[in-house]
Subunit: 371 residues, 2 copies
């Protein structure tokens, strides 16, 4: 049955119908008209936009109206680390970096190091370590240090807590209970937490002393935080943040969302060549049992995890992607070569990423802000 | 009926039976033996201890054991401002200052400027202003600036939030719901808040890297915060804080607790001579209708608010207090002179207090800590 799936920040279950999900969440689909409007300013569209990986939004049209009136926006995204980062985790940061470059926008990047402590019990010392690892992965993506602030909640709490208090005052337990599926046994840190996630969406307006539009690129499972936050932020007298929301990179097994905690379902940024090859080899393709049958019946690139990895991250050229998809459909792309090629691409990407990471190690403080 | 009263941080109702209250809260009464043990170290007992204004405790005996083993304790108290401070608000600070002096103890004084914003909707700008006013009133009491840290939660949040998170992780909504009488419509800041109040009770242990005993002088209505906090702090591996708990200075009307928000029931630290005279004149005495009847039947100093003001704050000399009480009982102390004298004492106290306040205005930063 359509709609037999569930997406919250804490669990993604079932096969997601993204159009149904957008309706559920009250998101609008990014249509051709909006794509044209973005393209007018960026010259080209990022492949994640062209391919509708970023497929839905809130008030992106308003944000562009403001931009065209000369009212520049800033970007806000983040990650709450519970373990080492995966390639899927990069999706919001890659688009945010691109938007920064194209629109000359500042980026606020929140690493809420308390969140997974509250929601999953990961020790604070561990989330702290993981947060710095995440900061390095983010800095490695080409952000402009002069226009980017990365911060950990516990290190930036003097700035954050006062603003979070203003949000928290207007959010009740009933609201978070329903939104996040909490019980009365939820811990009070977790209950409070959404206030902290709301802050960067209006923090620049507080700092500037006047309203600054905010655009949040995010994975769609985080949307619920901002459904709550938008109302409150509006009541506080700030612009409600706009958002642009991404689908999930599928897991090795073909599940809708790569599970960061399931090691065999996930490619980590630290995976070595051998590990990547092994995981890619296990990727679900939906191909036929034999090369002969595959040539006869062909495959479905929408279900093939290898194809989807090209689409989400590893083949930016649309024509080449089309050729890959076409070969998959025709049955001329066989699993073995297909996977060997993807593994090579991923390894090349990871090698470059790790080089950039190392280059950033001494420069990280150019990005970090602390109280 | 005995026990027909209620005491929470947010409401005090009915005529309090303090012995029943101690039982309800699981407090022990400060007995002669404990008084002797304190006196051994302090030389004399503060009149608030002699008169059982501080009447109950948790683990004060353990705290003295530790002290006698050479394990010095620190003090923690505070005030959450919702309006201008009253003379009743000084009770915990007066004893804390005395304990600091006698035991050479450091004092951590928390001014949770977010608390009344959450619990009563006092605007943050207003609580911030009131917090600095409170800090000045506290500094004026003779605290040693070298041994005293005063802080506002929002200004010290980098230090506080990380530790509060550790508490919050172990407290559920069920626990605070029952303890503070919250509903599902409570705001999530208020739900979280008790974690912030817990922090100063183990913060010095965090800072020192080893366990330091903590003694909390407090008005008994705040006890519930520490009933929750003690369990959690113990589980975090720190000493559970000891506490020493005070009865309330009665209101002008004779109610068990002076209501800080009821202007006519309360003497504020900023009240001028005339205002004090008027309020003292309205104090409930329980005296007879005429001087003649009063001389005949006498009065009850336990019910007489004028007598209680002498006892709590304005007559440190026990012999003189006995004489006042005796005169009240005999009916030789008549309301008029009684009140005129108390008003004079209060005005002298307030005048001195305001002088000290002014003296401290430029020195306040010696006390304040901020991130």
């Amino acid at each position: 049955m359509a709609g037999d799936f569930s997406v919250t920040p804490y669990k993604v279950e079932g096969k997601i119908d993204y159009d149904v999900l957008a309706k559920r969440f009250g998101l609008k689909i990014i249509d051709d008209e909006l794509e044209r409007r973005i393209k007018k300013h960026t010259g080209e569209l990022h492949f994640m936009l062209r391919r509708h990986i970023y497929y839905a939004h809130r008030e992106l049209d308003w944000l562009l109206d403001e931009y065209e009136k000369g009212n520049k926006f800033y970007l806000y995204t983040g990650i709450a680390p519970s373990g080492p980062m995966t390639i899927g985790h990069l999706v919001p940061f890659i688009l945010t970096q691109w938007l920064q470059e194209k629109f000359g926008a500042e980026a606020y990047i929140q690493i809420p190091d308390e969140e997974k402590f509250f929601s999953r019990g990961v020790p604070l010392e561990e989330t702290h370590r993981l947060s710095y690892d995440a900061a390095l992965n983010i800095a490695a993506l080409g952000f402009n240090p002069k226009k980017t602030k990365i911060f950990l909640d516990t290190e930036y709490a003097k700035t954050m807590y006062r603003q979070a208090a203003r949000v928290a005052k207007r959010v009740t337990f009933s609201m978070v209970k329903d939104a996040f599926g909490m019980t009365n046994e939820a811990n009070i840190g977790w209950i409070f937490y959404t206030s902290m996630q709301a802050v960067p969406a209006f923090l620049k307006s507080v700092e500037e002393g006047h309203n600054v539009p905010c655009l949040i690129p995010l994975a769609v499972d985080q949307d619920v935080h901002f459904r709550i936050a938008r109302d409150v932020i509006g009541k506080l007298g700030y612009y409600k943040p706009a958002s642009i929301e991404a689908k999930f990179l599928p897991g090795v097994s073909g599940d809708s969302k790569m599970s960061a905690s399931n090691e065999s379902d996930t490619i980590y940024l630290h995976d070595n060549e051998e590990a990547v090859r092994k995981k890619v080899n296990k990727m679900f393709t939906g191909q036929q049992a034999t090369a002969e049958l595959q040539r006869k019946h062909g495959g479905d690139p929408d279900k093939c995890v290898v194809c989807q990895n090209y689409r989400y991250m590893f083949e930016p050229d649309d024509k080449k992607l089309d050729a890959i998809f076409e070969a998959e459909r025709n049955g001329t792309m066989l699993a073995g070569e297909h996977k060997a090629d993807l593994a090579k691409r991923i390894n090349a990407f990871l090698e470059k990423h790790r080089r950039e990471r190392e280059r950033m190690r001494d420069r990280l403080d150019e990005f970090m802000v602390r109280d």
